[in-house]
């Protein structure tokens, strides 16, 4: 490592150490002198701190120093009592995380029930999910995805590192697959007094 690199490393370290918030790679690149090898510096810094009480963690395209999770029991730091997330919100968060980008209608299809008002917005307010542009399909529905703050909060470096992601993908459980909605059209509804197609036909 050259002296210049070492100097860049110190600058990067100071930047990250001073911030409580995540810093995106774009912001870091802007702050470092031109020609600094950000990727290399981040990797070096991360390994410098790997065994320390404070670690450099990655969350998507952002980075931050965080205390090492395994120390928590002995730190006696006052912790927040997390607000309780509703079951619907937990499920929705998981669906957004694993299926992103995902539309509201798709979330509803996976859960098999319509999303009540406030479920998405509580996650949005927490800064865990955000709009991710529109789908290029009829109706141009809004896509939702998770944020770097979500990854940071749960200590995940990258969306692909979500637990079980690989397996779920391989098992085809993250595809839209053939859901029962595919077999709704033929339903003649003779069995039940209630017309199964009353209301939104695209529930399932």
């Amino acid at each position: 490592m050259t002296d210049i690199d070492r100097h860049h490393l110190r600058l990067l370290e100071a930047l990250l150490f001073a911030s409580a918030e995540l810093l995106s790679e774009r912001v870091l690149a802007n702050r470092l002198p031109e020609g600094a090898d950000l990727d290399g510096l981040l990797t070096a810094l991360q390994s410098d701190y790997a065994a320390r009480g404070v670690n450099l963690v990655k969350a998507g395209k952002s980075w931050a120093f965080r205390t090492a999770p395994e120390l928590v029991q002995q730190l006696n730091i006052e912790v927040d009592v997390p607000r309780k997330l509703s079951r619907a919100a937990v499920e929705t968060l998981a669906i957004v995380a694993y299926h992103q980008p995902v539309t509201r209608a798709e979330i509803e299809e996976v859960r098999g029930v319509s999303l009540s008002r406030g479920t998405l917005d509580v996650l949005f307010e927490a800064g865990w999910i955000k709009p991710r542009g529109r789908r290029r399909t009829p109706g141009r529905p809004m896509n939702w995805g998770t944020t770097d703050a979500f990854l940071d909060h749960f200590g995940i470096a990258d969306v692909n590192d979500l637990p079980g992601m690989e397996d779920l993908k391989a098992a085809g459980l993250l595809d839209s697959g053939v859901a029962i909605s595919a077999y709704r059209g033929t339903d003649d509804g003779g069995a039940e007094p209630l017309d199964p197609d009353s209301g939104d036909g695209d529930r399932f």
Partner: protein, 274 residues
């Protein structure tokens, strides 16, 4: 910011009683698929295999039980019941080989897929909540130092805040407007008044169109006026105050006054009350 907005995991998901007696309480469920999933777990029914039939029966029994107790049931649950009934019939009847209708096997596979997908997501959600969490298990820098222009602005506003404020602003702006807009629709009360006033001067058959208010815009407001006037006409006909005639299907509708005296009295009473 992140630590003040953190949430606990929901580790106490409502579970059915372990002794096998299914407690009918829809509050605990997140829709019909969730009920099916709970039933499958409870009865150790393998959703990946095609042992869907007993599951369908369980669900139908569950729904019947809920309805017997006269609990209000969301349409979603009934839709699922209808679907499962259909699935049952497809599973029990021999395959007719018709391309039109799905086989029971296909339907069962689709249901199994959806159950499995939801189960996986429910587990993933719980796993997420059980992870080490920022502000709970690990921490940010306690005494941050601020860099100028590290972030692109010195102001703190989140996208959520921006959208929430805009939503509130629109709602405020729309508050009165919505009310006024609702009144744009021509009500049956209006039509009744207008019809009663006009009928006195029209002893001969007149097209329904003649009774519509003038200067109506096209579209929904106009249609509402037409519908309201027809409804008002039917109401007055029921009261014996006018006659309605339509000679052919979709043909024009004509109204005629029936009893001049009665109509006049009615108008008078109306204005007395006003």
């Amino acid at each position: 910011m992140a630590e003040s907005k953190s949430f606990a995991g929901e580790d106490d998901f409502e579970a059915p009683s372990s002794d096998g007696a299914f407690i009918v309480d829809l509050e605990g469920y997140e829709g019909p698929i969730d009920v099916l999933l709970t039933l499958a777990r409870e009865k150790k029914i393998d959703i990946t295999q095609i042992s869907i039939l007993p599951l369908a029966e369980q669900y139908l029994a569950f729904i019947a039980d809920v309805r017997r107790r006269d609990l209000k049931l969301a349409a979603d649950y009934l839709v699922m019941a209808a679907w499962l009934t259909y699935l049952k019939s497809r599973l029990l009847l021999p395959d007719l080989g018709s391309a039109e209708e799905p086989t029971g096997k296909e339907m069962a596979a689709a249901l199994a897929f959806q159950l499995q997908r939801l189960e996986v997501m429910q587990n993933a959600g719980q796993q997420l909540m059980a992870r080490h969490r920022l502000g709970h298990d690990f921490f940010t820098r306690g005494a941050p130092e601020q860099f100028s222009s590290v972030t692109s602005s010195v102001y703190e506003v989140s996208l959520f805040e921006l959208l929430r404020v805009y939503g509130e602003q629109r709602r405020r702006a729309a508050g009165g407007v919505l009310h006024i807009k609702a009144l744009e629709l021509y009500t049956v009360e209006n039509a009744l008044k207008r019809l009663q006033t006009l009928l006195g001067s029209t002893p001969d058959w007149e097209s329904l169109w003649q009774f519509l208010p003038e200067g109506l815009e096209k579209g929904i407001v106009g249609r509402s006026a037409l519908a309201s006037t027809l409804a008002a006409g039917l109401e007055l006909a029921r009261e014996g105050k006018l006659e309605i005639r339509q000679t052919s299907l979709f043909g024009p509708i004509y109204l005629r006054h029936r009893d001049v005296g009665a109509a006049a009295r009615s108008v008078k009473r109306e204005s007395d009350e006003a």
